[in-house]
């Protein structure tokens, strides 16, 4: 029988499965205090999911605050942190919203569906802001490329991301694929979505106006992923129930596509007061968050929720994570129009409740009161923990063993062979086996996509304005130094955006870490967040939103700390975009920035020696700013034909890629006075490789001098040359490099 409020009052001492639901004893007591009685099982369900790490950010909150406290002054933000996603001003009344979110564990259990529903979830987050989703990106990390489990997980994840995104008609404009032993058994699947709207079209998630109707629309509610958000496995509340609830959700991209078009038509006709997507914690999250953010109260009749599985108990309906659902607050006079649009798109829509000013969230089931709580206490006033932090015991040793004695190539021949091996190593090899499974053309606004440094789209065909996006992370750097590792990821994404010709404006982030209950992990987290917040302040690019994913570990071994940073930039005229590949014959090749002997956490140490130690490359954010300014200005002035940022693999990798992408050769002379190995493979930050038409070379070098940006001429692009020629060192056929680079992943996964 259902546990009603009345019953709860009558039976104060009835034992409850708080622990099984992942609630600490103190948390359970806190709930009893809030309610002045024991919670009903439905209330317990709501609190357990809303107070879970995933929804409440109880371990990360006190750290994430820095993103607000240290936020740089900017007029680029229309909506800051705290909403479903931040909104950036793209000019001419265009607004852009973007966010990244993780779907790591589900992607391990069922790679295809886990990754697919990850895309579905983040797309609904963007839709919820009132925007038309216009592009997606994906940042993926797997175990060693040779590991059997990688062969199971990777193809499924890629097919899932493509299957869902392609079916939604969203171009995939970039991302990452990285491999490291630490992700075996715990792959990372982070999906980013960006949306576009007019500045006056921004929608917020709140239930305002007593008497307004609460409408649930989209897919029917089933037993999907119950407890997927909380730690609850898939227990049903009374064990007499036969059917075990699935912990895996199956996505229905067609339903979501229709839902998107339906919502956009609803927004255009201005038919909603507030709207919220149903993601983690489903109805519990949507009802409590909407009510808490609005007038403060809501009455809901759970009986009318359309069910896919009629055997669901109210507790399960509240926790279900069935996909492709949305909740809207609609004023009574617009309800008919709202329902008419849903009908046009064959979208099931049901009025399940009403906004009230009682300050209570009340729910009935079979006519009885089963929920009566102050919504804020579930949505915003959950427990907050200051978890103990402790620098890992091995951190010191790790930093001391800097691998200075690792054998390095000694002559030109060895340098060439090293380069050839490196470009075919999993982390540096061509990713087109993955990206060819993603539609990059749909919507007709894609200006740059894989394998360019950043993805770039025109915000709308009626304008020349565009946005550029890049997501980056480097867990080896972050392991060696979480503070600077996070800043290096930020710097790389920032640099990538600038290299495309766009001005970096805002940041989103997905923080993938081990267990917050492990002080060493918590130290990594605290350091990374502090580093990111400081870095964003210095670069003047505020954090607009993001997501935290804890408990990424196999047994007690956490993954390498993996903050993934997304940077968004704007460009006035997409025709001025800068590609990464060399373009014209005789282009003058310049290296911008300084190169030092920096190999801590480098791709070379990893690929050639399987070694991780020392300190990551030095961070110089002022230099990053100068570099960005030069690239952007040179792009506007049409001085550069190509620009490619230097990161993993250093100059050697950048040269090879720029040659292959341009289908040309190049004649290079390494900077004088620099050890050739260091010149080719060091990963010093703040550098880029550009090609400049001979006629502009003078003006370009002047520009660099004015900004005191080191600029070294390396050589020329040669369309007839079929080699990458490094003067006095080696000469490798482009075809050979291309095959090595292109075939590495294909051979694995074909």
């Amino acid at each position: 029988m259902t546990d009603t409020v009345q019953n709860a009052e009558a039976t104060p001492d009835q034992p409850q499965p708080a622990k099984e639901l992942g609630l600490a004893e103190a948390e359970y007591r806190q709930i009893r205090e809030i309610l002045g009685r024991r919670p009903t099982s439905s209330e317990l369900a709501i609190y357990s999911v809303m107070w879970s790490e995933h929804c409440s950010y109880k371990s990360s909150k006190i750290h994430l605050r820095q993103f607000g406290e240290k936020a740089p002054a900017t007029d680029a933000l229309l909506v800051g942190m705290g909403e479903n996603a931040g909104v950036v001003d793209a000019g001419d009344g265009w607004a852009v919203t973007f966010k990244i979110e993780s779907h790591n564990h589900p992607s391990y259990v069922e790679p295809y569906q886990g990754a697919a529903t990850g895309v579905g979830g983040i797309v609904r987050d963007i839709l919820t802001m009132g925007a038309r989703p216009v592009a997606v990106m994906d940042s993926l990390r797997f175990g060693k490329v040779s590991a059997p489990d990688t062969a199971r997980v990777l193809p499924g994840v890629v097919a899932g991301i493509g299957g869902y995104g392609n079916c939604l008609g969203l171009p995939n404009i970039g991302g990452e694929v990285a491999f490291d032993e630490c992700y075996t058994g715990n792959p990372l699947v982070n999906a980013l979505c960006v949306g576009v709207m007019r500045t006056d079209g921004i929608k917020l998630a709140k239930a305002d106006g007593p008497g307004n109707k609460v409408v649930l629309f989209g897919a029917r509610t089933g037993g999907d992923g119950i407890g997927g958000a909380s730690v609850l496995a898939s227990a049903t509340f009374d064990d007499s129930k036969p059917s075990k609830r699935p912990s895996v959700q199956v996505g229905d991209p067609f339903a979501e596509k229709v839902l998107i078009e339906c919502c956009l038509e609803i927004f255009a006709a201005d038919l909603v007061v507030g709207i919220q997507d149903l993601g983690a914690a489903g109805l519990s999250c949507a009802t409590t968050e909407l009510a808490a953010a609005g007038t403060g109260g809501m009455d809901v009749d759970l009986d009318v929720v359309p069910l896919r599985d009629p055997t669901l108990a109210p507790e399960e309906i509240l926790m279900s994570e069935s996909q492709e659902r949305m909740m809207a607050v609609v004023s009574p006079d617009k309800l008919d129009d709202f329902l008419a649009v849903c009908d046009k798109w064959d979208v099931t829509a049901t009025v399940i409740g009403t906004v009230t000013d009682t300050g209570r969230l009340r729910m009935t089931w079979r006519g009885e009161q089963i929920v009566d709580i102050p919504p804020r206490t579930a949505a915003h006033e959950g427990p907050v923990y200051r978890r103990p932090v402790e620098r890992p015991l091995d951190q010191g040793i790790l930093n001391e063993h800097d691998g200075h004695n690792l054998p390095r190539p000694r002559n030109g021949r060895e340098l060439g062979q090293t380069l050839l091996r490196m470009v075919s190593s999993a982390n540096l090899a061509d990713k087109s086996w993955v990206t060819d499974q993603y539609d990059r053309f749909v919507l007709g606004n894609t200006v740059l996509a894989q394998p360019d440094d950043a993805g770039m789209i025109r915000v709308d065909e009626s304008t020349t304005r565009g946005i550029a996006l890049s997501v980056d992370g480097n867990s080896r750097y972050t392991r060696l130094d979480p503070y600077h590792g996070a800043q290096l990821a930020l710097a790389e994404a920032y640099r990538n955006v600038a290299a495309s010709g766009a001005r970096p404006l805002a940041v989103t982030n997905c923080l993938n870490f081990g267990s917050p209950e492990d002080p060493a992990v918590m130290w990594q987290f605290a350091e990374a967040v502090r580093g990111l917040a400081d870095g964003c302040l210095e670069l003047g690019t505020p954090v607009t939103g993001g997501n935290v994913s804890f408990y990424n570990q196999t047994g007690h071994t956490p993954i390498l700390p993996t903050p993934v940073i997304g940077v968004l930039g704007v460009i006035d005229d997409v025709a001025q975009r800068i590609p990464s590949g060399f373009v014209n014959d005789n282009g003058q090749i310049f290296l911008l920035g300084e190169t030092r002997d920096e190999f801590g956490g480098s791709a070379w140490a990893d690929a050639e020696h399987g070694f991780l130690g020392g300190l990551p490359p030095r961070v110089d954010l002022d230099r990053e700013k100068v570099l960005a300014d030069v690239l952007i200005e040179a792009g506007r002035a049409g001085l550069v034909e190509s620009a490619h940022d230097l990161s993993e693999g250093g100059l050697g990798q950048a040269l090879v890629e720029s040659c292959i992408l341009g289908g040309v050769g190049a004649r290079i002379e390494l900077p004088a006075g620099l050890d050739p190995f260091v010149a080719l493979f060091s990963e010093s930050a703040g550098r880029a490789l550009v090609s400049v038409p001979r006629t502009s070379a003078g003006r370009f070098t002047e520009l660099c001098e004015q900004r005191a940006l080191p600029c070294t001429r390396l050589g020329v692009v040669d369309v007839l040359e079929i080699h990458l020629q490094v003067e006095g060192q080696f000469s490798l056929p482009i075809r050979e490099l291309r095959t090595a680079w292109w075939a590495a992943l294909r051979q694995r996964f074909e």
Partner: protein
């Protein structure tokens, strides 16, 4: 034309305008063709392609009108999912099934134009090589030998894959036409090759210019 799950409908409209014609939006549930001079069935995943690509869209109310009009000679171009709908509607022979590689393929694809007598290819030269994006999951054109021989014999193969066949299509077939030449199905996406900035070049415009007769 927009079916639930159509994705490249806006792009098709853009291409039509680019060729100097007016783009009229048609809706799957509205049987009227609104006196248009030609119909483009766009790419996408109508109804998710869950059963078979195009299998459910084929029963949309508007399709009866399209089938009737096509039989009376109305120019109809089916792109990708549109091609699949045309086959399911039996306006074109054969069928499109899952790619031989069992993966979605998205890339710039070189094609050779073999039939310039259709309503949609008259602007090309016989044997002309063009580059157009391909992006599909169910793009392998299959048919029995008799049908294939017939298509070849009657010169009804409109375009063929010139370099590596992306999806295992029998006889490298990328597009075909009906006997009359007014109905054409294409797996590649010409609407995504109409400007240098956002596509693979401008080779795709020719299909739409062929119809409007406007010169490039």
């Amino acid at each position: 034309m927009t079916f639930p799950g159509s994705l490249d409908d806006r792009d098709a409209a853009r291409a039509v305008r680019r060729a100097g014609a007016e783009a009229i939006a048609l809706w799957h549930a509205d049987p009227s063709l609104h006196d248009v001079d030609a119909v483009v069935l766009p790419g996408g995943f109508s109804y998710g392609d869950y059963l078979r690509a195009g299998a459910i869209a084929r029963f949309a109310p508007v399709m009866e009108s399209v089938i009737a009009a096509a039989k009376d000679g109305l120019p109809v171009l089916g792109i990708c999912n549109g091609f699949q709908v045309l086959c399911e509607s039996h306006l074109l022979p054969g069928a499109l099934v899952g790619n031989a590689g069992r993966k979605f393929v998205c890339r710039a694809q070189e094609l050779v134009v073999e039939n310039t007598a259709t309503a949609w290819t008259s602007g090309f030269d016989q044997g002309q090589h063009i580059v157009i994006p391909i992006k599909n999951m169910d793009g392998m054109f299959v048919a029995d030998e008799r049908t294939l021989d017939k298509l070849d014999g009657e010169g009804r193969v409109v375009v063929r894959y010139a370099e590596r066949n992306p999806n295992g299509s029998y006889r490298d077939i990328a597009g075909i036409t009906n006997k009359a030449g007014n109905v054409v199905g294409l797996m590649p996406h010409p609407e995504h090759a109409i400007d240098e900035l956002t596509g693979t070049g401008t080779d795709g415009v020719g299909f739409f210019l062929s119809l409007t007769g406007v010169s490039a």
